[in-house]
C-alpha cells in the first residue's frame, strides 16, 4: 500500500493554489518592468494563460500518474496514497481536525475528471481579456477546492474544502459572467451556504457521537447515541448534497448560475461541482449510515424519478441553448440518485459512472454552446438555423455531444445509464420504468434542439460565421470526444475502479439488509440490487 510516503496528494491539491499565487504575482500591464518576472515574453493575458495551462497540465499529469499507478487488486480497496497528520486538536471539547488525504476507487476517477476539465476550462478561456490574471488565479483555486473535496478523509477537512469553493465561484460568476450575474452568483452562494449549514450540524453530530471526524473511523463507530437520531443526521447532510447535485426541488439555482456564468465556469460547474453532491452521498451517507440509506432507498428512488422526469420536461420547454443544457443536467443527475437507491454494486458503480460520463458529456456540451455563442452572440434557439452548414466541425461535435447526452450506445453516457438501470430495475421496478421515460424525453429534447438550431436551410445571417480554427478550440473538443468514446467502448477502465470503490459500500448495505430480513449477518456478495 502506498501509505504515507511522498505526499503526492498534498502536492496535487495545493499545486493549483501555488500556481494561482504565482499568476497573481505576475507583473501587470501597468507595471511593465519587473526585476524577475518582467523578462517573460508576451503581455499580461498571455503570461497568465500560459502559466495557468502549465499548472493545469501538471496536475493532470499527476492525476494520470496516480490513475496508472493505482493498485487495482482486491487489496486496493482501502485508501491509497494516504497523507495524514493531526492538524488541529482541542482535547477539552473533542474537536480534532485531521489533515488527511487519500484516494480509493471511488474518488480517483473523479480526481482525474477534475484535473482534465480544469485543463479544458483553461483552454476554452483562452480569449479572456478582462482581468486575466485574477480570472486564471481563481480558476486554479477552484481546482484546489474541488480536488480537496474528492480526496479529504476527515469530515471537517472535507467541509473546509466544500466551503472554500464558494469564493472563487462567486467571483467568477459575478465578474466574468453575463446577464443577471450578480443575482445568480448570490443565489448560488446562499443556496450552497444554507445546504452546508445543515451539513455541518450533521457532521458535528457524527463527530460528537464517534469522538472522531475521520471518515475511516466513523464508519466503524456507533452513531446511535448521537444527539440527533441517525435518520436526522442523514437527512441534514443529504440536504447539502441534494442542493449540490441538484435534486428537484433544490435545483433552481442551477439554471441561473449556468446561464450567467462564463463558458469555462459552466464546464467546471456541470462537470465537477455537481459531482461533489453525488460523491458525498456515496462516500459519506451510504458508507457511514448504510442502515438509513437502505431504509431511504425507495424515497430516494422517487426523488430521483421526479428529478429525471421534471428535469426532462422542463428542458423541452427551454428556448435558451445554455439553459437547456443546464436543465438537462438536472434530469441526468437524477440517474445518479436512482443508481444509489439500488443499493447494489451495479447500481452504485453505475451512479459513479454517471458522474464521470455526465461530467465529460455536459462539459463538452457547454464547450460547444460557448463556441457557438462566441460566434453567433445569441443563445436563443429560435434565432439559430442551419448552423451546421456554416460551422461543419462545431456542428458535428455538437451533434456528437448531443447524441452522447441522449445515451447513444458505445458512448460513455449509455454505459452509465444502462448500468444504473440494470442495478435499479430489480429493486425499484416502477420507478426505473418511469425513469426510462426520461431517456425517451432526453432523446426528444436533444434531437429536437439539434434539428432546430443546427439543421435546416442555410440562413444568410450566419454566412459570416467561422468554424473552429484555433488549436485551443480543437484540443478540448478532441480530448473530450476521445474520452467519451474511450469510456463507451472500454468502460472497464474506470468501471473496475468504481466497482472496487463501491464494493465496501455495497457490502455494508448487504450486511444491514441481511440483518433486517432474517437476522443473519452473512455478507452475500451481491451483483445488482436484487433480493433483500
Amino acid at each position: 500500500m502506498n501509505g504515507d510516503g511522498f505526499p503526492i496528494l498534498s502536492l496535487l491539491v495545493f499545486l493549483p493554489t501555488a500556481g494561482a499565487l504565482l499568476i497573481a504575482l505576475l507583473p501587470s500591464e501597468r507595471v511593465p518592468t519587473h526585476a524577475l518576472l518582467g523578462a517573460l515574453p508576451g503581455n499580461e493575458a498571455q503570461r497568465a494563460r500560459w502559466l495557468a495551462l502549465l499548472i493545469a497540465l501538471a496536475s493532470l499529469g499527476i492525476s494520470l500518474g496516480l490513475f496508472i499507478d493505482f493498485d487495482r487488486s482486491a487489496g486496493g480497496a482501502a485508501f491509497q496514497y494516504t497523507d495524514t497528520f493531526t492538524w488541529i486538536k482541542a482535547d477539552d471539547v473533542g474537536f480534532t481536525v485531521t489533515y488527511a488525504f487519500g484516494v480509493d476507487g471511488l474518488s480517483l476517477p473523479l480526481v482525474l475528471l477534475t484535473s482534465l476539465l480544469t485543463t479544458v476550462a483553461v483552454l476554452i478561456s483562452w480569449r479572456i481579456d478582462l482581468r486575466p490574471k485574477e480570472y486564471f488565479a481563481w480558476l486554479l483555486i477552484l481546482e484546489t477546492a474541488v480536488l480537496g473535496v474528492f480526496t479529504s478523509l476527515d469530515l471537517l477537512f472535507f467541509f473546509l474544502f466544500w466551503e472554500l469553493e464558494l469564493i472563487p465561484m462567486f467571483l467568477l460568476i459575478s465578474i466574468w459572467g453575463s446577464g443577471d450575474r450578480n443575482y445568480s452568483a448570490m443565489k448560488f452562494v446562499l443556496y450552497t451556504v444554507f445546504g452546508s449549514a445543515f451539513m455541518l450540524v450533521g457532521f458535528l453530530a457524527m463527530g460528537a457521537a464517534a469522538s472522531t471526524f475521520d471518515m475511516r473511523e466513523i464508519r466503524e463507530a456507533d452513531l446511535a447515541d448521537a444527539f440527533l437520531p441517525v435518520q436526522a443526521i442523514f437527512a441534514f447532510v443529504l440536504i447539502a448534497f441534494a442542493v449540490k447535485l441538484p435534486v428537484v426541488p433544490f435545483h433552481t439555482w442551477l439554471p441561473d448560475a449556468h446561464s450567467d456564468a462564463p463558458t469555462a465556469v459552466s464546464v467546471i460547474l456541470a462537470g465537477v461541482l455537481l459531482k461533489m453532491g453525488g460523491y458525498g452521498i456515496l462516500r459519506l451517507l451510504f458508507t457511514i449510515m448504510p442502515e438509513v440509506g437502505a431504509d431511504a432507498s425507495l424515497s430516494l428512488a422517487i426523488l430521483a424519478v421526479v428529478s429525471i422526469l421534471y428535469g426532462a420536461l422542463v428542458t423541452i420547454r427551454q428556448t435558451d441553448l445554455k439553459r437547456l443544457v443546464a436543465y438537462s443536467s438536472v434530469s441526468h443527475m437524477g440517474f445518479v440518485l436512482l443508481g444509489v437507491s439500488a443499493l447494489g454494486v451495479t447500481g452504485l458503480s453505475g451512479a459513479a459512472m454517471q458522474l464521470v460520463a455526465h461530467g465529460l458529456i455536459t462539459g463538452l456540451l457547454f464547450v460547444m454552446v460557448g463556441l457557438v455563442y462566441d460566434r453567433t452572440h445569441t443563445r436563443e434557439i429560435a434565432d439559430m438555423r442551419g448552423l451546421v452548414h456554416h460551422m461543419p466541425i462545431i456542428g458535428a461535435v455538437m451533434i456528437f455531444a448531443g447524441l452522447a447526452s441522449l445515451g447513444l450506445p458505445a458512448l460513455a453516457g449509455f454505459v452509465a445509464e444502462i448500468t444504473v438501470f440494470l442495478g435499479a430495475f430489480s429493486r425499484h421496478e416502477v420507478p426505473t420504468a418511469l425513469a426510462l421515460v426520461g431517456v425517451l424525453l432526453a432523446a426528444g429534447y436533444m434531437l429536437w434542439v439539434l434539428q432546430r438550431s443546427f439543421f435546416g436551410p442555410r440562413d444568410d445571417r450566419w454566412e459570416h460565421l467561422e468554424d473552429a480554427k484555433s488549436w485551443w478550440e480543437y484540443a478540448p473538443m478532441a480530448v473530450l470526444c476521445g474520452a467519451i468514446i474511450l469510456l463507451g467502448v472500454y468502460p472497464k477502465l474506470v468501471m473496475e475502479l468504481f466497482e472496487l470503490g463501491t464494493q465496501p459500500i455495497a457490502d455494508g448495505l448487504q450486511l444491514v439488509r441481511a440483518g433486517l430480513s432474517d437476522g443473519s449477518v452473512a455478507a452475500l456478495p451481491g451483483l445488482g440490487g436484487g433480493g433483500g
Binding site: 492538524w87 488541529i88 486538536k89 482541542a90 482535547d91 477539552d92 471539547v93 473533542g94 474537536f95 481536525v97 471537517l156 473546509l160 474544502f161 466551503e163 472554500l164 464558494l166 469564493i167 462567486f170 467571483l171 459575478s174 465578474i175 450578480n182 448570490m186 452562494v189 446562499l190 451556504v193 444554507f194 449549514a197 445543515f198 455541518l200 450540524v201 458535528l204 453530530a205 463527530g207 460528537a208 444527539f227 440527533l228
Partner: protein, 489 residues
Amino acid sequence: MLGEVNLLGPELVLMTVGGVLLVADLFLRDRRLLMGVAIAALLGSVLYATILLADGKVGGTAFNEILVFDEYALFFQFLLAGGALAAIGASWETLGRIPSRRGEYLALILFSTTGLMLLAGTRDLIGIFVALELTSLSQYVLIGFHKDRLGSEAGLKYLLLGAIASAILLYGMALLIGLSGATNLGAIADFVGGAGPGQFEALIFATVFLIVGFGFKAAIAPFQMWVPDVYQGGPTPIAAYLSVASKAAAFAVLIRVFFEALSDDLLSEHWSTIFAVLATLSMFVGNVIAIQQDNIKRMLAYSSIAQAGTIVIGLAAISADRSELLGASGILFYLAGYTVTNLTAFLVVIAIHNKIGSYAIDDYRGLGRRAPLLALLLAFSLISLTGLPPTAGFFGKLYLFQTAVQSDLAWLAVIGVVNTAIGAAYYLRPIKAMFIDAPAEGAPLPASFRPGAALGVTLALTSAGILVIGLAPSLLIDVAEEAVRTIML
C-alpha cells in the same frame, strides 16, 4: 507587600505613562513622539507581564484576590494590549484632528486598557466594579472626543445608557454581596452551593442583573441599542477598540463570574438557558439589521452584535453533567481570532476613509482596482467574519458550534450555522462593491493609494494574525485551553 505590587506591574506601567502623557499634553504636540510613548508603554506592559511569566509568578494573587495573575488573566492582558496597540496605530489621522489634546487621547486609551486588564485579572466583585468604571469613564470621553454633533450625541448616549447598565450591575452585585456576605468569587461560590429555597430566587435575580450589566459592555442583544450610534459617531479607531478590547474583557469577566461563582448545578441550568436565548437573539438581531446598512461602520457595528451572539454560544455550553466549562476555551479562541479579524476590517475602513472621506459602501466601488492590497485585506477579513476557510473565523465558529453540540445544545449550533448563511449576505456586499461593481461616474477616488506607515504596519500584523490562526489554529487552541484551566469551577 512589594511582591503583591509587583503583580500589578503591567497595569502600573500603563497608569504611570498615562499620567505622564496627561502632563506632557500641556506642552508637547509631536504626534510621532506621543504615539511612540504610548506604544512603548503598551509594549512595556506586555514585557513586564512576560517577565513575570518567565519568573514563575503565574498563579499568584494579591490584595485578597482582588488581583489574580493567572494564565487566564495573562491571555487577556496580551489580547487587550494588542487591541490597544492597533487602536493607537490607527489613530494617526485622528490625532491630526485634535492638535491640542493628543496626550489626553492617548492617556485615556491607556487608562481604559488598564481597566480592561484589571477586569480580566480580578476575582472580587469590588475589583470588577472599579475596573469597569475606570474603563467606562475613559471610553465615554473618547467616544465624544471630536466634539462634533454626531460624536457628542454618541458620547452622551453611551454615558447615559452605560450609567444605567452600571447601576443595574451594581444592584446585582449588591444582592449577591448581601446574600453571601462576601465579595470574593470563591466565597460566593461556596454560598451559592448551599443556598436555601428563598435565597435561590434572589440569586436568580442577581444573576439576571449581572447578565444585563455585562451584556451591555459585550454588546449582546437586547442591550445593544448604543452600539451603532456610538460606533458611527465616535472616532473610528475607538470604535475598533470598543468592538474588540471592550468586548473581550466583558467576556473575560462573564466567564470568570459565571463559571467561578455561579456554576452551581441548578443555577447554571437557568443562566445557561438565558445565554442560549440571548445568543439566538443577538445573532438574529445583528445579522438581520446589518443587511440593511449602507454605512460600513454601522454594518460593522451590527456585525459585532451578531459576533457577540456567536460568542455567547460558548457561555451557554456547559457539559450535561455540569462538570466542565466546554465553551470557555472556545470563547477565548474565538475572541483572539475575532480581535485580529475585526481590527483588520476597521483598519482598512480607516485607511480608506483617510483617503476618500466616506464610510458609504457605495463609495467602495472600484476600490479593488485603485487600492488592490487594501481591498484584498478587507475582503479577507470579511471572509473571516463570515466564517469561511482558510481563516481564523472559520475555525472559531467550528470550535464554538462543536462545544454547543457537546453540551446538548445542538439547536443552538443549528441557529449559529443558519446565521452564518445570513451573515454571508451582507459580508459579501463590500467585497462585491470593491471587486465587481464599476465605480460611479465622477466618484471622488484618487488614482491609487496606500495607508500611512503606522497604519500599514498595524494592518500587516493583524492580517497576518488572521492567516496564522486560520492555518495553524492548534497553537492558539493549546494556549486557550491552558488559560481556562486556571478558572475554578
